[in-house]
């Protein structure tokens, strides 16, 4: 059995869970196992029925009043029971912030750890080889699991496609689970200062990273954005340093964009940034470091000093516009 985790908030599905279903189905096929899904909740609000439309053995609804909101203690207790009952080979999850919070705790209870943030896997002589990005995206590592099941694997967003999840007809299996003491008290989630700049609608984005070096140099990127009719964006370190406001941040903790053109200035291409822009139609990277991972996803690249390249670009574009 392979169990896929279905993440939701008040019964509203987190769509990356569909990627977890695809992952579980794919692994199941490769290993000759069956895939099932797991929903943790206080009461099912119709989500199980939606998930039951996928090709799964069953949808396990693990219920307890204490699972009305997410807490790491509550989720760890519920998962522990489900795993003891089902004895899965694999537990498969999308590598979301919530999963990062509780999955290692569950694994530790079974004296296991999580093979986390996997980008792909392959089958080699009857065992699986998983690939993770390491050193902030600069290198890949092939990793194997040792010891006995259960194995815990989380996949990076985009490693599997939600629309490839096979449809079918699963049965629903409602179980009541024990949840012990919850040692943390959650308050209501909230959205901080609604993004005043909606970069998801931008046609062209000029984004700056640590290579921009100082706050004064942002003006240069702004000039390029102006002549292109583009919006200015940034990677996390720039917003952390408050050189640009947080609503300009692209990446896992900022906005996810897919513009026609994305120009990355001095951005190395750490995974946390790349997940937010990799689906752009055309990606341009200007970076001094020829090994920067941003070049792996760029359509056009200039290996060199952005302070030399950008002023020339601005001049050339101005010339074109004058003619």
């Amino acid at each position: 059995m392979i169990l896929a985790f279905i993440e939701h908030k008040n019964g509203v599905l987190n769509k990356t869970s569909l990627e977890a279903i695809t992952a579980a189905q794919t692994l199941a096929k490769d290993l000759g196992l069956k895939a099932s899904a797991v929903i943790l909740c206080d009461e099912d609000r119709g989500l199980a029925k939606d998930i039951a439309q996928y090709d799964l053995e069953k949808v396990i609804i693990a219920r307890n009043p204490k699972l009305n909101v997410y807490t790491p203690d509550g989720y760890a207790d519920a998962w522990t029971e489900v795993i003891k009952k089902e004895n899965p080979q694999y537990v498969v999850m999308a590598h979301t912030y919530q999963v990062r919070d509780f999955a290692p705790k569950v694994a530790a209870r079974f004296e296991r750890e999580v093979l986390a943030d996997v980008i792909r896997y392959r089958k080699e002589n009857n065992h699986l080889v998983f690939t993770r990005r390491i050193f902030l995206g600069k290198l890949d590592a092939d990793v194997v699991l040792q010891g006995e099941a259960p194995y815990f694997v989380t996949f990076q967003s985009g490693a599997f496609r939600a629309d490839k999840a096979q449809k079918g007809n699963a049965k629903e299996d409602l179980i009541e689970v024990e949840v012990g003491e919850i040692r943390m008290t959650p308050e209501e989630p909230f959205q901080e200062a609604k993004a005043s700049v909606d970069l998801t609608k931008s046609e062209i984005i000029v984004a700056v990273g640590r290579g921009i070096k100082s706050q004064e140099n942002i003006a240069l990127a702004q000039q390029l954005a102006d002549v292109l009719g583009a919006d200015l964006a940034a990677s996390r370190p720039i917003c952390d340093a408050e050189w640009l406001p947080i609503d300009r941040q692209i990446g896992s903790s900022g906005q996810t964009v897919a513009p026609k053109l994305y120009i990355a200035l001095g951005i190395s291409g750490a995974i946390q940034h790349v997940v937010g822009m990799k689906n752009s139609q055309t990606i341009v990277a200007i970076n001094k470091d020829p090994e920067a991972p941003i070049f792996d996803i760029a359509d056009y690249g200039i290996v060199g000093d952005l302070f030399e390249a950008v002023p020339v670009m601005i001049e050339e574009i101005k010339k074109l516009k004058e003619n």
Partner: protein, 258 residues
């Protein structure tokens, strides 16, 4: 109040990495090392919390060979009161569960009120050592903490977690607890000259650890440069200005945005 801050030494972000001949890791000997970024923020939060309370002790704990003394020295210079150096050779070979086991063993007698660490290391990036450690010590945890309500400290502590897509959530935790800290939570202080001088007399406890058996460890088989998913047209051939001219031409003729 006692706060332990777990800090890791990692390869410098801008370092050019060379893969070792056995393809299992990088050549660490020729790479400049630095303190893991989010661990630096974890230390800053610990120092600020101690200052807000007006008393307490901040203990930096780092695992690795002799080179991590730089991390420890720097943390002491910034204001940590003392240090625990867990001496382990070839620490890159440790899986997160093994690391957590070693740290748990080394710090359990300290009976800390709080344990802070960064949310993830910038090298191997397992992102779970802290969470496993909390489970082994049987204390609650929160990950990706982006704000700490210092005024709330009173047997409990309110922390703000970062969720996805611009959402946040406050939680109140009973102490002791472990928190993994997000980068950018505050501005990191620099070590003052006075701090550097004082650091020299602060105690550093060395513990020699043995690597625990762990049959379920994930094992790195091979490290390599990522396979390219796209054919990149490199422009300018090393001349950035010429590259810029060529790029604008491509933007006009191929991308058609001009």
């Amino acid at each position: 109040m006692k706060i332990i801050v777990l800090m890791k030494q990692v390869a410098n972000k801008d370092a050019v990495l060379r893969i070792r001949s056995d393809n299992k890791w990088i050549e660490e000997a020729d790479v400049a090392m630095q303190t893991n970024e989010s661990d630096g923020y974890a230390l800053e939060e610990a120092l600020r919390l101690k200052e807000a309370k007006g008393s307490g002790e901040v203990i930096v704990c780092s695992l690795g060979g002799p080179s991590v003394k730089t991390v420890i020295k720097d943390a002491l210079a910034r204001g940590a009161d003392r240090a625990i150096h867990i001496l382990v050779g070839d620490s890159y070979k440790l899986s997160p569960y093994q690391t957590a086991r070693i740290i748990a063993e080394a710090i359990k007698d300290e009976q800390a009120d709080l344990i802070f660490t960064g949310l993830q290391s910038d090298d191997i990036g397992y992102g779970q050592t802290g969470v496993i450690l909390a489970e082994l010590l049987n204390i609650p945890h929160a990950t990706i903490v982006i704000e700490i309500d210092r005024s709330s400290l009173d047997g409990t502590l309110r922390v703000k977690r970062e969720l996805e897509s611009g959402w946040y959530q406050w939680f109140r935790y009973r102490l002791p607890a472990l928190f993994t800290i997000q980068s950018g939570i505050s501005q990191i202080r620099y070590a003052t000259l006075q701090g550097i001088m004082k650091a020299k007399s602060k105690p550093v406890k060395e513990i020699t650890a043995t690597i625990p058996e762990f049959p379920s460890a994930q094992k790195i088989e091979k490290v390599y440069l990522p396979l390219k998913t796209k054919q990149t047209q490199l422009l300018g051939n090393g001349d950035a200005k010429r590259g810029a001219i060529e790029l604008v031409e491509k933007l006009r003729t191929e991308v058609r945005v001009l």
